[in-house]
Symmetry: none
Subunit: 218 residues, 2 copies
Amino acid sequence: MRLVIAHCSVQYTGRLSAQLPPATRLVMVKADGCVAVHADGGAYKPLNWMNAPNRLVEADGVWIVTNPKGEILTITMEEVISDTAWEMGPDPGLQKDGVEAHLQALLAAHCDQHLGLRLVRREYPTDIGPVDLLCKGPDGVTIAVEVKRRGDIDGVEQLGRYLEFLNRDPLLRPVRGMLVAQSVRPQARVLATDRGIRWIEVDYDLLRGAESRDLRLF
Amino acid sequence: MRLVIAHCSVQYTGRLSAQLPPATRLVMVKADGCVAVHADGGAYKPLNWMNAPNRLVEADGVWIVTNPKGEILTITMEEVISDTAWEMGPDPGLQKDGVEAHLQALLAAHCDQHLGLRLVRREYPTDIGPVDLLCKGPDGVTIAVEVKRRGDIDGVEQLGRYLEFLNRDPLLRPVRGMLVAQSVRPQARVLATDRGIRWIEVDYDLLRGAESRDLRLF
DNA sequence: GCATCAATGTCGCCT
DNA sequence: AGGCGACGTTGATGC
């Protein structure tokens, strides 16, 4: 990884045009060739960047980075304050825990408890993709459950499409929908209600709590 | 801006849990206090981070970064290879040109010229969000225009939802749809046509050209 | 401060 | 390689 501290100006032309007036910044070049220009503030997003794969040409204090898509990043180095490079080797990578898949797993395991439903199948396949949970309600009616961390309009549409296909199956019909999320946005509530889809908010920590309590019983 | 090259391991607990095994990485601390841990590859996104506002406590080779939301980032420094700091001052910031807002503004200003429509209102509100442009066609029919940089299936769906709601208003009905974008993807074309939604591609440079020509007249 | 929406989104999975 | 969906999305804007 190469780190350059420099007074520089930057120009990007590609999917849009953007430019940076001269100022002191950090230019980071990673081993895969990607280039990022960071200011001394503003979260982790760089001001300008060019991802790999690309080609960096350096001449007369001007860096020109181009990629196969025809995007161009030009960095004009007015004064280089520091220029260092470090060998890091490959990174073992990030381990994550607590994403949507976990939410779905917890809900599947405690469907009756949290949703008042009986689980028929997880990832029930349809022609346009798998439904997160297929359940039966107390009245025996089939219910397709879509699990999201955040319930958004997209999720309602997605569930709507599943329902459309599921309801073509005479063995399942009628199928109703339920959107389950840690929070359901107001607009998604409106659309869901409009489409006859129920929505519920669940608390991930509560689910996890219930899970560990259950585990302790064994 | 402080740059630390170190062999370190990282743990994050907050909206999810994530951990990084020991390896050599860059730890970046910006003037606003935000912390980012970068590997030597993988675009511009850091492996782990903690945005401002936060509090960084450094003791015995362990950095503990906490924020008001209760998230915790722990960096265990096994070996510090380099630790430097640079004064950069404030950044003048990025100037962008060619984002959706510009496109919408240009189209709104020259609706008749580029779309053959008369503008009724920008950002016309519905229960599920605002329509970019509400216009009237030469025949007096109301037309909802959705503006995108790229016309994708999502945009067609979005416009479809607006139309569904707009067409419930007896004062507006019938409302037709038009998708305007710099480029409309093949799948979006098919879906739009299927839904009776017109689509048009516009050239941003041409729009801007027309704009500056108009300006020169005054 | 919350809700909403765009983004040079990025990233990972799957076909 | 392209489509699709999640993301600790981030960032900006309007209310």
